[in-house]
């Protein structure tokens, strides 16, 4: 079985982001970037299938500038066999990303296309669903458990009401939620080995993909802030305040 897994380069989750004073975006230059954490979970899942003998080949794919190769190397260090880099310096929005992934999936014909449920930069939570829609494949989003058996997958999904289990025919797009697994730490020998693994470069043109209509970002601003309130010294004081506000 072949597994395709997408990874996105994003500002590291530990970075406190800064908004440019002119409102034109978020400061990205000189800021630490990493693989989107949900994508790490997706890659880890693919590795577990490979180690269990369920997956024979795992291919990582990214869309982005030259620097995104760094994240492909991380995916290869996890143990992916090879990688595909769709190069573009333009920011790619979900529908365009989905068109690219549709083209790659048609070329590679994986049984499972694993993705993170969302990227922690734009928080869109769209690309997996859009990719499966374009491919006319089933989708199983927000996965916390996946059981592969032959031509189907049983996927437990974290939804508002609890845990929902769906059975989908393969091929399918599955998006990883937080509790699917805990990604491993990369070891130096694996990072060294990854340098020798092949990365194939492509462009949107090579794939015959046209960028979709875009949302235009007009400005970026800080979120409304909450002011710190009062400290109370005792439960009596707390209860008095709550009663004053009519909350108890």
């Amino acid at each position: 079985m072949k597994v395709l897994v997408s990874v996105k380069r994003a500002i590291d989750y530990n970075v406190r982001i800064q908004i440019k004073p002119d409102g034109s975006g978020v400061v990205e230059n000189g800021v630490k970037h990493s693989m989107n954490p949900f994508d790490e979970i997706a890659v880890e899942q693919a590795m577990r299938w490979k180690e269990a003998g369920t997956a024979e080949e795992v291919v990582a794919v990214t869309i982005g500038p030259d620097a995104a190769k760094e994240q492909l190397r991380s995916a290869l260090a996890f143990g992916c066999d090879r990688a595909i880099h769709i190069k573009t310096d333009e920011p790619v929005q979900p529908l365009t990303a989905a068109r690219v992934f549709e083209a790659i999936a048609q070329k590679e014909e994986p049984k499972v296309f694993m993705m993170g449920k969302q990227a922690i930069d734009d928080d869109s939570n769209q690309t997996g669903q859009m990719t499966s829609a374009l491919l006319e494949w089933p989708q199983a989003t927000f996965a916390s458990e996946i059981e592969l058996s032959g031509e189907t997958a049983k996927v437990t999904r974290e939804i508002d009401a609890g845990l929902e289990t769906l059975e989908v025919d393969l091929p399918a797009v599955i998006t990883a939620d937080l509790r699917l697994n805990e990604p491993r730490y990369l070891k130096l020998p694996d990072i060294m080995k990854a340098k020798k693994k092949p990365i194939e470069d492509m462009s949107l043109d090579d794939l015959g993909v046209e960028a979709a209509a875009r949302l235009e970002t007009l400005k970026t601003t800080p979120p409304p802030t909450r002011e710190a309130g009062v400290r109370v010294e005792s439960v009596d004081e707390l209860v008095a305040k709550l009663k004053e506000k009519g909350l108890v």
């Binding site: 529908l95 829609a133 845990l163 007009l218 979120p223 710190a228 909350l247």
Partner: protein, 316 residues
């Protein structure tokens, strides 16, 4: 250009989820010429009747189909696309519940259009604010005006539109071919007599400071005393004190209760992202340096195991 808006109803077990009325409140700010609510269910009569009461709704469209017994994006999408085209809607909206998050991008892709996730503020029918970077920045986006706009509504940003309406209910027959590749197996619902976490006016929450699954009983007891829903931080969920669906925060539930009272929660950024819209935040923590105090309206430093019994007694 007229703004004719279709809202996809989120519902479970024959009841309408309040998120639908919140999406209606958002839609009302888009200068709509009409707001229709689409109910896709096996038997949608009770849900449609509830939706018809929401102020601002023009019509409720009820499309019954045995395939809609459990909402699955792959099966709902072709029906929504058919309804959107049949009704010539300019906007198709859903709530940003897990139902809407799963569904709306699939609808957008099938319509071949970009989607706006998590509308938190409306400037015009095609210009909105939405959060990025876990709510640490807000972007204003302009969507193309020459195509259908598909979007999800950040429920915490909108109070539910009130009831009192009696919109007409029409049955709709949709000509759509549904795939057989996705099948419902089961839904494990945490059974609870407590109010629903996402819509409850009062929420009591516990974090790692609660210490264990057994200790969480004090949180439940206090919640029951004041009729509150119970939530938890990611740390408490990861430690196994409570099930996943109780998680409040960026990757869990984003809520906007009148009262949010949290015990033993330090206030990680991802947790704060889930409670920013609460009206009153009360924090009880033994660490006076905990970041939760920076956003709390009322803070009390102390041991939750001493404070809760005293609180219960004094609330009376």
């Amino acid at each position: 250009m007229s703004n004719k808006i279709l809202i996809i109803a989120d519902h479970l077990d024959g009841s309408l989820n309040e998120s639908t009325a919140r999406a209606v409140a958002c839609a009302q700010q888009m200068s709509p010429t009409g707001i229709d609510v689409l109910v896709l269910a096996e038997d949608g009569a009770s849900v449609a009747a509830e939706a018809a009461q929401i102020e601002g709704v023009s019509r409720v469209l009820q499309a019954d189909n045995a395939a809609n017994a459990h909402p699955m994006a792959a099966l709902l999408t072709p029906q929504i696309v058919a309804a959107a085209q049949q009704g010539e809607y300019s906007h198709v909206l859903g709530p940003n519940t897990t139902f809407g998050k799963d569904l709306m991008p699939r609808v957008a892709a099938k319509l071949g259009v970009a989607m706006v996730t998590d509308i938190m503020s409306v400037h015009s029918a095609h210009e909105f604010d939405r959060p990025i970077y876990a709510g640490n920045a807000v972007i204003t986006v302009g969507a193309p005006t020459d195509q259908v706009l598909v979007a999800s509504v950040r429920c915490a940003s909108y109070p539910a539109a009130p009831g009192g309406n009696s919109a007409e209910i029409e049955t709709l027959s949709l000509d759509a071919e549904l795939p057989g590749h996705t099948r419902f197996v089961n839904l494990e619902q945490a059974s609870s007599d407590r109010p629903d976490l996402q819509t409850a006016p009062k929420v009591i929450s516990g974090g790692r400071g609660v210490g264990s699954e057994e200790n969480f009983k004090v949180i439940y007891d206090l919640a029951d005393k004041i009729g509150a829903a119970v939530g938890a931080s990611r740390a408490a969920v990861d430690a196994g004190y409570v099930p996943n669906d109780m998680q409040v925060g960026q990757t869990g539930k984003i809520i906007s209760p009148e009262l949010y009272m949290c015990f033993g929660i330090s206030g990680a950024i991802q947790h704060l992202a889930g409670i920013k819209d609460a009206q009153t935040i009360v924090a009880i923590n033994k660490d006076e340096e905990a970041p939760i105090f920076e956003v709390a309206d009322i803070g009390l430093v102390g041991d939750l195991f001493k404070i809760i019994p005293e609180l219960e007694e004094k609330i009376g």
